[in-house]
């Protein structure tokens, strides 16, 4: 009888302690999340701080700590291409060894930006922490790409957040590589190479300035399948005046196939360079 009274008290103490922990963390989280300071405001604070802090060790410590953390963050970006620009979290549920948090993350991977929302259930076992993702929602800026949207919806369905980041990283790296390659050839052969859709478009047009009519269009798509595997796909399209076509039918018809084998032999850059040179020579 007495024991059972004690038990009731002990149970209540435990549940109160858990409730207090949850509330404290909730309070802390939303105190953090309800505030927002822009980078400018932070820079201003650092400046005003540096004026004040001459002689105050604790204050300059804070600045040093901030700088070191920022270096850590940009350091990661160097290796993965991924950079978070904002992060909000909110605690949903907490017991001694289970915590559920809602996260909102936005950032970019090279030139592609993303916004994510998900819940993370973290369980503390004896040895380690395990985590499970639920309610994953992804918004990508390049939403029109049907490949990408298929990949995104498959990722959302399976909650496969890690694969999303790994695949995005390689997809965006190809994107960046394409942009740099286009930029390089536009700079090297400004008379021949034109970029109708700009550097972020997926094709370039080659034209000999002295001979209007002949145009080669190189389309460079980046495929991503539902599993997140990325592959570059390049194709050559030709636009040739009719009188030329009559004479050199076979050559022109073979061009796309030749281009594909050139890609395999020399790689993308060398194949493009060769093609540009050929267009430049054309008489």
């Amino acid at each position: 009888m007495d024991n059972s009274i004690c038990q009731v008290y002990e149970d209540e103490i435990q549940s109160l302690e858990e409730e207090i922990k949850l509330l404290a963390e909730k309070y802390e989280d939303s105190q953090q999340e309800s505030t927002f300071f822009s980078d400018e405001e932070i820079l201003m604070s650092i400046k005003s701080f540096q004026r004040e802090s001459e002689g105050h060790e604790s204050l300059s410590d804070l600045i040093t700590q901030l700088e070191s953390l920022e270096t850590d963050l940009s350091f990661l970006k160097k290796f993965t291409g991924i950079q978070f620009t904002s992060h909000f979290k909110e605690i949903v549920e907490k017991t001694t060894n289970r915590t559920v948090r809602k996260h909102r993350l936005s950032g970019n991977c090279y030139s592609l930006s993303f916004q994510l929302e998900f819940q993370l259930l973290e369980m503390q076992n004896k040895e380690n922490v395990s985590a499970v993702v639920t309610d994953l929602g992804i918004v990508m800026e390049s939403g029109e790409d049907s490949d990408m949207s298929k990949f995104v919806s498959s990722t959302e369905e399976h909650g496969n957040l890690l694969r999303f980041f790994r695949s995005l990283s390689s997809y965006a790296e190809w994107y960046e590589h394409r942009r740099c390659t286009f930029l390089h050839f536009k700079g090297k052969y400004p008379d021949i190479v034109t970029l109708p859709e700009g550097l972020l478009g997926d094709y370039i047009v080659l034209r000999n300035p002295k001979h209007s009519g002949l145009e080669l269009m190189i389309v460079w798509k980046i495929h991503i399948d539902e599993e997140g595997r990325t592959t570059p796909v390049l194709d050559l399209l030709t636009k040739v005046p009719e009188q030329v076509l009559e004479q050199k039918m076979a050559t022109i018809e073979n061009a796309p196939a030749c281009f594909r084998s050139m890609l395999l032999l020399f790689g993308i850059e060398a194949a493009l360079e060769n093609l540009i040179k050929v267009v430049g020579l054309e008489k």
Binding site: I20, V132, R163, R166
Partner: protein, 287 residues
């Protein structure tokens, strides 16, 4: 004389009994007192915690109300430079902490950098591994927790000097594929042990699985033997699947073995088994 002795002996035993009783009562009283104290202590603690909880609850409610009234309570002039910096530090710390979800996380150390590579199967994050790199005089692996059967040295030889990003990405592919294969085999053992006969055999890299399982057809059960080879070490689906039944089994079973073989090469192992059991249920449920 004899009588007296007996009498006094009787008195002694009586006295002893009384003494024992008194002791017992004292012990009981002491125990009750202790319990009373414990109860009081617990009660006080409950009261204290309730108070603490109520205060926090009020704080959280007030915070919510404030937020509703005015979305942004961030005026750097009002908050002061220290608060602004402390907020930013917390913000970055939280970002770094959650970075592990991308699969690659890292921290600069005195001599170089320590990368942490996490693995996941679909929505479940599994083990993570670290690789501590020294950067001077040249990039080299100082310490790591990558299992010996992962070709770390080979990967390092190919990419470490030229492209650390690629090195991490290839290593992550290997580790994730291994984690995925291991997870599937573990799931199979955990959830479908009643269908597995004997033990599931696997090598340490989990790229070769051999097991026997039971298939029921027309209320009889038949043994199937499966052999799965994962030739692509960066993949968690097998490249070579062989499912066979005993030679004396009916022809319909040979067809079923072929169908299973096809399924295993396309679908994760535990999911394939889940689909078998749901097939059976729907067949049983059919009129």
């Amino acid at each position: 004389m004899e009588e007296g002795k007996r009498n006094s002996a009787g008195v002694f035993t009586h006295l002893e009994r009384l003494e024992a009783q008194a002791r017992e009562i004292a012990v009981k009283q002491e125990k009750m007192k202790q319990e009373e104290e414990k109860r009081a202590r617990l009660k006080a603690r409950v009261r204290e915690l309730r108070l603490q909880r109520d205060k926090l609850l009020a704080k959280v409610r007030l915070q919510k109300k404030k937020l509703r009234e005015k979305r942004a309570m961030s005026d750097p002039a009002k908050s002061g430079a220290r608060a602004v910096l402390e907020w930013k530090i917390k913000n970055i710390k939280a970002m770094l902490q959650v970075s592990y979800v991308t699969g690659i996380n890292g921290k600069r150390t005195k001599q170089g950098v320590c990368f942490c590579i996490s693995t996941a199967y679909e929505s479940t994050y599994l083990d993570s591994y670290y690789v501590h790199l020294l950067v001077k005089p040249e990039v080299q692996i100082h310490q790591h927790s990558v299992p010996t059967f992962i070709p770390l040295e080979q990967i390092a030889k190919m990419y470490l000097q030229t492209d650390i990003g690629r090195f991490l990405s290839v290593l992550s592919d290997h580790l994730n594929a291994y984690a995925g294969r291991k997870y599937q085999a573990d799931q199979l053992q955990e959830h479908f042990s009643d269908q597995i006969e004997g033990t599931l055999q696997r090598n340490s890299l989990c790229n070769l699985l051999v097991f026997n399982y039971k298939v029921s057809s027309k209320s009889k059960t038949f043994p199937f033997n499966a052999r799965l080879l994962y030739g692509d070490l960066c993949c968690s689906l097998p490249t070579e699947v062989n499912v066979s039944c005993t030679p004396d089994a009916p022809a319909s079973l040979a067809e079923m073995a072929a169908a299973h073989s096809d399924l295993f090469s396309r679908v994760a192992l535990h999911k394939a088994f889940r689909s078998f059991s749901s097939d059976e249920e729907s067949m049983d449920g059919a009129p």
